[in-house]
Amino acid sequence: MTNMTMIEAIRDAMRCELERDPTVMVFGEDVGHVGGVFRATEGLQKQFGATRVFDTPLAESGIGGLAVGLGVQGFRPVAEIQFIGFIFETMDQICSQAARMRYRSGGRYSAPIVFRTPFGGGVKAPELHGDSLEGLMVQTPGMKVVIPSNPYDAKGLLISAIRDDDPVFYMEHLKLYRSFRAEVPDEPYTVPIGVAGVVREGSDVTLITYGAMVHTAVQAADELQRTRGASVEVIDLRTVMPLDIETLVTSVKKTHRAIVVQEAQRTAGVAAEVIAQVTEEAILHLEAPIMRITAPDTVMAFGQIEEEWLPSVARIVAGLVHVLDF
């Protein structure tokens, strides 16, 4: 066990898999020599050589194409897209090429690629660096989308993603990179894709979220416990495609109330999908409508009002109170 930040856990996952599987390759802009703009790949080129861990020219579509071609050739590329907003430059390779490869080739080829990318609000990053674009990826059949909230999950989920035979979009929240440390096993281990985690058990209301919002949600749950003595069950989705509906439904059947929190804009996102599916499965168990706490339907706010734009503890508490008093 080592006490690691999330970025150290992410690096450790890549190190484990580079060591275990000679077909794993790590590349992207600035990931080789300097180890990435956030140092996620620091030291990996030195340890595994510039053939397996390398810098690419500055062109995201080229990076995506390189990954797809390598995937067809039997490699397992881990391609870093330096910031989330840059994915639009390679959206064709991610969504139209990688995610469709198995289907188009009737199963002859696959694209066992991990696209890693930092995202997320709360650190006042420049525009198009922090957007929550998981909704776009979730609407891409063939893709899996993983968003860890802590160092332990980050390592286990990234190892699962690298070993997965399909493309995985792996989103790393900027605010979580170095905000806290946690015990992480030194050996390789997996956290399964598609399984949510119950962060805190509770009996009165289910709070469903993912990414950095897990921590905001826990604070809101604490506050509600303190102010009203309400017991909030907090669930970390960990994977937003595929969704672990079973865990959510089990929880809602117990608590009869739920809210979903996401950093992304309100409309047609992960929260909407969670609510639709939970309602389909458990409407007769519900005592209140399932509420969404989200960012408004605007482009992501510039730094000055970022904190107001993102869901806050106060907004989540208000949502919980509304659902509890409904």
Binding site: S61, G69, S110, G142, G194, I245
Partner: protein
């Protein structure tokens, strides 16, 4: 549209003369660098071009009869298509554009699968294990960046093989065109980028596509070899690709621009070339028919007769008939089958939908 007045600036680039081996009358151009091919290979090149022309004509008819779906005619481009594929090794990897069905069929994809692909059946893209091609690319240019990845894969596996991406004059305007070439150049990959400049991207002429002196000149920006070749001359095309292969294996990619023409429409989905091409232009290109040129050459060498020609036409017609029947007899795709092909192992929501669709 655009700047009409002449600006006081000229882009200075070296003139590139298109490679040519055969003159339009089928005789050898003086000083021409002929490809290294035996008499049997010359006959085979002729056979494949005639076969492909017949197959193309049959495919156009089958489309009109509703027995084929999307089809992009290839007549006129046989020298570029057949000549470039012919000199590849079996394990060289082809990243085709949507019109490049002949290259991947000659590289090993069974014809009935090409027909299945056209008919919208998933089995069409299930490339056999020992055939080294991707399915035809729909997104213009995507195959060019993928080609760099394939080439890197071949290099890492220490194969003596190259990856070749095909696109057209329109494709050369895409950002991916530059990105793919630049990655291959910067990483010294065994790659060939082959542009069939057939003068039109659907209806948009070359003059609106770029003001570059040629597409081949664009290689300079990526620091790779740029070669211009007469795309109606199958021997010139073969020679250019043979040479590009050697360079590619040494870590120097090549961009080849083959100047050619499609005799037919862009596709069978309603394109009418008379709306954007003149009769005179069309006729002038038809006079440069790559089959006529090569036929004169091999006939003069005593390698090709009218009887050979007829036999190949008949064989092609028979093969097309057999393969379309085979394609038509393959069981239809199913929605559960489609759902199954989304992931290696269906996640819960997919498994549920499979059950619902059964």
């Amino acid at each position: 549209m655009g700047v009409q007045t002449k600006v006081p600036y000229e882009v200075s680039v070296p003139h590139i003369e298109p490679l040519r081996v055969l003159l339009p009358d089928g005789t050898l151009a003086s000083g021409a660098k002929a490809p290294n091919l035996t008499s049997e290979q010359l006959r085979e090149l002729m056979r494949r071009m005639v076969y492909t022309r017949t197959w193309d004509q049959r495919a156009v008819s089958l489309n009109r009869q509703g027995r084929l779906g999307f089809y992009a005619p290839v007549s006129g481009q046989e020298a570029a298509m057949i000549g470039s594929e012919f000199v590849l090794e079996r394990e060289d990897f082809i990243c085709p554009g949507y019109r490049d069905m002949p290259q991947i069929v000659w590289h090993g994809l069974p014809m009935f699968q090409a027909f299945l692909y056209s008919r919208g059946h998933q089995y069409g893209g299930r490339i056999p294990e020992d055939v080294h091609v991707l399915m035809p690319q729909i997104i213009i240019g995507a195959q060019i960046v993928e080609c760099a990845g394939i080439a890197l894969g071949l290099q890492l596996k220490k194969k003596s093989n190259v990856a070749i991406a095909y696109t057209g004059d329109g494709g050369s305007s895409q950002g991916d065109f530059y990105e793919g070439m630049n990655f291959a150049g910067a990483m010294r990959l065994p790659a060939i980028f082959f542009v069939q400049n057939n003068q039109y991207a659907i209806s948009t002429p070359m003059s609106k596509q770029t003001t570059a002196a040629s597409i081949a000149h664009k290689a300079v920006a990526a620091g790779i070899r740029g070669v211009l070749v007469d795309g109606m001359d199958v021997l010139a095309v073969a020679a250019a690709v043979q040479e590009a292969r050697v360079h590619a294996l040494g870590g120097m990619p090549t961009l080849i621009e083959a100047i050619t023409y499609r005799f037919g429409p862009h596709s069978m989905s309603g394109d009418d070339p008379t709306k954007y091409r003149t009769k005179d232009e069309q006729t002038s290109w038809e006079e440069r028919d790559p089959l006529v040129r090569m036929r004169q050459y091999v006939a003069a060498k005593g390698l090709w007769t009218e009887a050979d020609e007829q036999a190949v036409v008949q064989a092609a017609r028979d093969d097309v008939a057999e393969h379309i029947k085979k394609a038509e007899n393959i069981e239809k795709m199913t929605v559960p089958g489609l759902l199954t092909s989304m992931y290696a192992t269906p996640p819960a929501h997919i498994a549920k939908q499979i059950a619902q669709w059964k």
